[in-house]
Structure formats: structure tokens, C-alpha cells
């Protein structure tokens, strides 16, 4: 694992992607810092970080796009997968290399509150917590990017796919307001999610009877609940999807000085889930 980590980390600087990622992120943060903190005199660096959120959507795919796809295209994965290293360790090595590259601009960000303190009052606790949560959010994004990169052989598809997913996450709160809040709408939404899960199960197991069974029983249960107490479904979709609002954990720190521990746990869980999915998608490809 350490060998892969070291090689991967170095390769980000051979191929310039690492340097470009760091330069892009620090340069854009610098611009926001100049505009918000220096020119307009806001004492919180976290405001600048919030502004950078959108830039981040472009930067992360640059970092993650080649992580697994390039390996597959150039067949170097044959070296990794035939070496005495498990797929899990390989994924971890690569993931930590990307996280380390991302850590560099985050460490640089730590200097900004100090600059603010020379000009007046700085809110260190708030700013450093914001940087930490920003870093964790970045780690989630990188895990998502890794998973998408592991599914394709093309860097471009990986980059665009990652950008698309991150964009949806970024707009999540806004999108939630479009969800139906009526009881019937709620049931329909749950039913659609059930169907998606069943399609996934069918795709994995190719077991028609099992899939139809789950779908049938699930549908009946949903209808029975609707008939018995339809108020349960009211607003259920936004309640569920709010839990996945990743960005709000960061914005609550950055804007309101509130650290949502549940949100941080959510970040860590998602990192685990996406790394697991990355391993699974590599394993699955070997068997198909």
C-alpha cells in the first residue's frame, strides 16, 4: 500500500495534475480572500472558503479523473492486480495519495486567518473548523471521483461524470424544494426508489424471481401504509434527502459557526461507502 501511495503521490507532480490542482485552488482562494477579507473587511476566512466551493467542483475532477481510469487504459493495472497487494490496499493507497495532494492547499489555507489577525480580530476557532470541514468535504468528493474513475477507461468521462455528480450535490438544497410534499407524491417517490433498488439487485444477482418478489411485496407494503395512515408520507422525501445535503454541514460551520457532528459522521460514512464501491467495481470488472 505504501509503495502505491508513494508512486501515486509522485506521479501527480510528474504529470502536472497535482501542481495544477494546487495552483488553481490556492489562486482562486487568494482571489476570494482578497475580495472578501482584504477589500471588504470581513473577519471570517470561512466566507472565502464558501466562495471557493464552486471552484472546487471543477478542481476535484481534475485530481480524480485519471486515478483509476488511466491505470486501466494503459494496462498498468495488470501490474498492481497481479502483485501481492489486495485491491482494497491498492484503492486505499491511491485514495490517500489524492487526499495528501488536497491536504497541501488546505494547509496553505491555514495561513489566511493569521493574515486576518494582523489586520484586526480573527476568529481562529471558527476558521480552522471551517478549513477542517472543508477538507473532509473534499475527501468525500475525492472518494466519489475515485469511484467514477474506477467505472470507466476514459479520463474525460470520469471528469465530466464527477463534475455532474458534484454539481448535483452542490445544488442539492435548491433541488430539494422541487420535491413533492403531498402524501401521494411521497409514496410515489419511495416507490421509485424501491424500483431503483430492485433494478440494482436484479443487475447484481440476475435473479428475476427474487427481484419481482421484492418489488411486489414492497409495493403492497407501501400501498397498505398509504391506506392506513397517509399522513406518514407527507414531506417524507425532503426529510430523507435532507440527510444527504453534504454542503449544508460545511455552510453551517462557515456561516453560522455551528458544527454538525452528525454531518461530519455522514462525511466519514460516505468516504467509506464510496471507497468500498470503488473496490467492488474493480472486483466486478475482473469477473465480467
Amino acid at each position: 500500500m505504501l509503495a502505491i501511495y508513494k508512486r501515486e503521490f509522485k506521479s501527480y507532480f510528474y504529470s502536472m495534475t497535482g501542481s495544477i490542482f494546487i495552483a488553481f485552488l490556492t489562486f482562486m482562494t487568494g482571489i476570494y480572500f482578497m475580495a472578501y477579507n482584504l477589500n471588504n473587511g470581513y473577519p471570517y476566512f470561512s466566507y472565502s472558503l464558501e466562495g471557493v466551493m464552486f471552484i472546487f467542483l471543477v478542481a476535484v475532477p481534475i485530481l480524480t479523473m485519471r486515478s483509476f481510469s488511466e491505470e486501466r487504459r494503459s494496462r498498468t493495472d495488470q501490474l498492481l492486480l497481479t502483485s501481492p497487494v489486495s485491491v482494497g490496499k491498492m484503492v486505499m493507497g491511491k485514495y490517500f495519495a489524492m487526499v495528501t495532494v488536497f491536504l497541501i492547499p488546505c494547509v496553505l489555507f491555514c495561513a489566511y486567518p493569521l493574515i486576518i489577525s494582523t489586520q484586526g480580530t480573527a476568529y481562529f476557532k471558527n476558521d480552522y473548523t471551517s478549513i477542517l470541514v472543508f477538507f473532509l468535504l473534499g475527501c468525500v468528493y475525492i472518494a466519489i471521483g475515485s469511484f467514477i474513475s474506477a467505472m470507466t477507461e476514459s479520463q474525460i468521462i470520469a471528469a465530466i461524470g464527477t463534475f455532474g455528480v458534484l454539481m448535483v450535490i452542490y445544488l442539492w438544497d435548491g433541488l430539494l424544494s422541487f420535491l413533492p410534499s403531498s402524501a401521494f407524491g411521497g409514496m410515489a417517490g419511495i416507490w421509485m426508489m424501491l424500483t431503483l433498488c430492485v433494478l440494482f439487485v436484479y443487475n447484481m444477482t440476475k435473479n428475476g424471481l427474487l427481484s419481482v418478489g421484492i418489488e411486489g411485496i414492497g409495493t403492497i407494503v407501501l400501498i397498505v401504509i398509504y391506506v392506513v395512515d397517509s399522513s406518514l408520507y407527507e414531506g417524507i422525501l425532503s426529510t430523507i434527502f435532507e440527510k444527504f445535503a453534504l454542503v449544508s454541514t460545511f455552510t453551517s460551520v462557515a456561516e453560522n459557526n455551528l458544527l454538525d457532528i452528525g454531518g461530519v459522521v455522514m462525511y466519514l460514512t460516505l468516504i467509506g461507502v464510496f471507497l468500498f464501491l470503488t473496490v467492488q467495481s474493480i472486483q466486478k470488472r475482473r469477473f465480467s
Binding site: 501490474l79 498492481l80 492486480l81 501481492p84 469477473f287
Partner: protein, 318 residues
């Protein structure tokens, strides 16, 4: 020792490898031979754990390649068809990385990489970027990577493709050198290549095992019914008369030849050599034979015969 048991690999509805069974014993050079698309690379990819099999298992020293992969992979070095090289790394740096990946002890790493670089003659280019190397050098870097850690078995997929004749000879010498202490398995679709270095041949066609034996045994087994061809200045009628006195002849057919020369192809039962009898029969008649030879099936013929029959398994009756 590697055991391949009932290996099946399906890509959708296409069966690339079809119930393959063979054993690789220690200390030989094995040649995996088959026409393009016979399933050689797929078999090797499964044996090294790069791909998973649809059915069947691969045991390396008793360890399943999928279930105990880290243990099993330790004793195998693999050079795939396309050497798995990182183009943006330098040769030495790449090999140091591969050594670490293959769990070569830190203290021995540098010495071992140096030793192998000298062995495959890439020591002079150790500080060059791999992307600037020629095909031959890249192949050697790939080979060096496979040899790193000196695993028990070294698997090479078409190691000489795309090399010039001089490089081919060098690689062959290297393979022979390696075979002194390691088991080597190499694949090729060129028979001459395999015959040159291997002492055991596994022929596969359309994913099935069609023959596996030493080159000598293969020649012996398939040469059974070799016909004897003679030429004489006698008329065909006279030739026929002489031949009819020899017991054991099953069929005689006459081929067109130069004017005044009779050319006959004599077929016998399997494994009967009647050349001496023919000679004596003609000698008794005081007639001369211009030429006589028994057409042996060469490995080339056997290979063509085996792989053109639509992959009908012969392994059973060998």
C-alpha cells in the same frame, strides 16, 4: 507448482476458455501455443489473478489465486502482452516501485534491482524515462519487473512480439538463463519460437486444450501413420508387382512425376516401418530405387492439424 482445474471464462455469450486443465511442474519451460484468439492471454491473466474465472480454479502451490491471492501471487511474476509500464517514470525508479510492490525487503531492494537490470541489460538506460525507450527496451523493463523478487514461476505472454531478430535471440537466451532456477511459462502463436526454448508444449485452440506433451512425444504420437514415398525408374506395373509381394502394405497410390520415373506413396498400418522390406524386395529384383523417404509429421504439421480441426479435444486420447 501450478494446477489449473476446469477453467472456464465467458465474456457474455462468448466462451474464451473452455474447461481447461493442466499442471505446471517445477523446473521446466512450458510453452502455451495456439493461434490468435485461442485464449492464451486470457488463461495467463486468470492464472496470475488479473481476471477472475467464470468457473474452475487456479492453485499456486496449493493456494487459490482468488481466495488466498496475496500468498499465491507472491510466487508468480507476470509479463503481460503489453508491458505494464508507467511512462512518466524512470527505469530504475519504476523497478524500485515494482520491488516494493512485490514485497522485496527494503535492504535488498537496491541490490536486487541492480542485479536484474544488469541481467536484462537495461543498466545503461536506468536513468531514462520509460516513454523515451524503444519497444525492445520497454519489453526488457517489463521482463525485469516480472523477474523481480525472483518468484518461483515466471509467466511471459508473447515476450518476443515486436522485437528485432537480435533482440529475440537475446530474450530467448535470457529465458533459458532464468529457467535454470525458475519455472517459466511463455505463450506464443509461433511454433518455432516455442520449439526453440520450451521443453513442454501445451497447445490450445478455441479455449480448449488439444494437446500437451514434450515436443518429442508430440512428434512421436502424431507421426504414427506416416506414409513412405519411393521413386524408381521402373514402370508402374512392375513397381506394383514388386510391392504386392510385401506384406503389411495397405494402400499404394501413384503420383505424377518426371517422365520415366514412377513415384508411389505406400501406406501401412500404424507404427509399421516397412522401408527395409521395400529395399530388399527391390534388391531381389535387381531393380534400383532412386529415392525413398518416410514423411514424418513435423511439429508444424501437428500444430496445424490440431488447431484447424475446430478445437476438437485430442487431449483425452493422447
Amino acid at each position: 507448482m501450478i494446477e489449473v482445474n476446469g477453467l472456464v471464462k465467458k465474456y457474455g455469450s462468448h466462451t474464451a476458455v473452455d474447461h481447461l486443465n493442466f499442471r505446471i511442474e517445477k523446473g521446466h519451460i512450458y510453452g502455451l501455443l495456439g493461434p490468435n484468439g485461442a485464449g492464451k492471454s486470457t488463461t495467463m491473466n486468470i492464472m496470475t489473478g488479473y481476471l477472475g474465472a467464470t468457473e474452475g480454479e487456479v492453485l499456486i502451490n496449493g493456494h487459490d489465486i482468488l481466495k488466498e491471492s496475496e500468498l499465491a501471487k507472491k510466487s508468480v511474476g507476470y509479463l503481460p502482452e503489453m508491458p505494464p509500464l508507467y511512462m512518466d517514470m524512470k527505469v530504475q525508479e519504476y523497478l524500485m516501485f515494482a520491488a516494493e510492490l512485490k514485497k522485496v525487503k527494503k535492504a535488498d531492494r537496491k541490490a536486487e534491482v541492480k542485479k536484474i537490470m544488469k541481467m536484462v541489460r537495461i543498466y545503461d538506460v536506468r536513468e531514462r524515462l520509460i516513454k523515451n525507450l524503444s519497444k525492445g527496451y520497454r519489453q526488457r523493463v517489463g521482463l525485469a519487473q516480472a523477474v523481480l523478487g525472483f518468484p518461483e514461476t515466471i509467466i511471459l505472454d508473447e515476450p518476443t512480439v515486436g522485437l528485432d531478430p537480435k533482440q529475440i535471440i537475446e530474450i530467448r537466451e535470457l529465458i533459458r538463463e532464468l529457467a535454470k532456477d525458475h519455472t517459466v511459462i511463455l505463450s506464443s502463436h509461433i511454433l518455432a519460437e516455442i520449439r526453440e526454448v520450451c521443453d513442454y508444449i501445451i497447445i490450445i485452440s478455441q479455449g480448449k486444450l488439444v494437446a500437451s506433451d514434450t515436443p518429442e512425444n508430440l512428434e512421436k504420437k502424431f507421426s504414427g501413420n506416416a506414409p513412405t514415398e519411393i521413386e524408381t525408374r521402373l514402370l508402374p506395373e512392375k513397381t506394383e508387382e514388386i510391392l504386392s509381394r510385401i506384406p503389411g502394405i495397405q494402400k499404394v497410390s501413384y503420383l505424377s512425376s518426371d517422365p520415366g520415373i514412377t513415384r508411389a506413396v505406400i501406406e501401412t498400418k500404424e507404427d509399421v516401418d516397412i522401408r527395409e522390406e521395400i529395399f530388399r524386395a527391390f534388391a531381389r529384383e535387381d531393380s534400383a530405387l532412386i529415392s525413398m523417404y518416410r514423411k514424418q509429421n513435423t511439429l508444424e504439421d501437428i500444430f496445424l492439424q490440431l488447431t484447424q480441426e475446430g478445437g476438437r479435444p485430442h487431449a483425452g486420447n493422447l
